[in-house]
Symmetry: C2
Subunit: 246 residues, 2 copies
Amino acid sequence: MPQHDSASAPLPDRRLPAYLQLRDALATRVARGEWGPDTALPSENQLTAETGLSVGTVRKAIQTLVDEGLLERRQGSGTYLRKRAFNASLFRFFAVQSADGEATIPSSRIIARTAAIAPAAVAKILGTADCIRLDRLRGQSDALLLSEEIWLPRARFDGIVELDESQFGPLLYPLYHERFNVFIASAVDDVSFAAASAKVAARLGLAEGAPTAVIERTAFTVDGTAVEWRIAQGPAERFRYRSRLS
Amino acid sequence: MPQHDSASAPLPDRRLPAYLQLRDALATRVARGEWGPDTALPSENQLTAETGLSVGTVRKAIQTLVDEGLLERRQGSGTYLRKRAFNASLFRFFAVQSADGEATIPSSRIIARTAAIAPAAVAKILGTADCIRLDRLRGQSDALLLSEEIWLPRARFDGIVELDESQFGPLLYPLYHERFNVFIASAVDDVSFAAASAKVAARLGLAEGAPTAVIERTAFTVDGTAVEWRIAQGPAERFRYRSRLS
DNA sequence: CTCATATAGTTCTATATAGAACTTGTTGAC
DNA sequence: GTCAACAAGTTCTATATAGAACTATATGAG
């Protein structure tokens, strides 16, 4: 699937109801990075003036995006980008035996950054083989919890290889947004089980063939294009995943 | 926590907005089993007449329940109980190598039904130790996939031990609803990995200590009381779990 | 029986309006 | 400087209304 430049604005589908057209328009403006994490979106009144729609319709459009998890409304203040709760969630899956019982985000260390040709399966997901690969290790040095391999399309993340190491915090998604204008809106995790390969075992300090949990994640922007694929692996005994069904 | 009889109607909190009071009222009526899976709830017009509220407010109350996954609206037809998609989801986690690739629900066999005292942890969740225990095996006889142990509070499920075996289909939640007026509205799964105990290994035809995926589930009614706890275990190599984050 | 048409009932979209509830910044009293 | 009061701006609740879109049933023609 070809990647459009973000400048090409998709035309709204006139057959759709007005509130959905407005929803789409707002979503693309969000994806384009028009508003930062702490700047309010236009108010209901401003949007009614801009669009000529009624407040009710504008509210419905915004509410749709809130339900989809993209926006967040604060009464009396405004409408903002929602802070993504799943930033730390990949980590949350591993029970960290911190003494205080807090859900601390342990240190993470990027151990490699290179431009590389993505494997076919990854290239298919990301839409290109021209990629950047990050390798990351998480956990204390005496208790390594997660070995990660992260693939990004080079077109969107050019310059991340040369970026100063101090710019990398424990979480990547804020960096994506601030430095590369890429706003992660949703993700899909695939959890499975596998024996540790020699390489992974060495990294995590496990025996080869030791049981590990594997998490494969694909992350998407608002418009549904995949912009990150990663595979993470950690010791199975420490793994614990909670999921709410409804 | 003491279990109320379903006859005691909780009073609506007057401090709450009207649409939330109506939401709560409808939720308790649903939990009470007032409407079956295929009978429509009262229409918007009927509800406005009953309550004296405006259509907009009534719509908002219903929409809230739709967002919570409890109801389902069909334009031109009516509002209905939502068919629970996670009935089969516990099973979906195991990749079934059926030739056609279909997500078939394999046969399930109840191998034991007894009244029993629940372990402390389970009793705490269910609010009582006076329970019924079901043991179930799923999968073909040549490829057993899941060994389940299910705990139910006896007060709500009295008679399930004596129930004719033919009444048990492959899914339990429809049975809960139709026979015992218990409508499962949400659930929480906890996934982890563990070595197979001697007993589980024997049941599944695995070697003792073989890696298995463990799913612990607590299921809730609309009002948030836990009415089922189960632990399921299956071979780790066959396990695959998909989760959507947003 | 089969098919098209009408009809009543339902949800869905959209507008207009009013005031309540809440947040944020400013102004003024002390 | 500190605190209270005010004011402007925002989202939230609630009502009222109109017509469109869709579904299910009944009716009638052939």
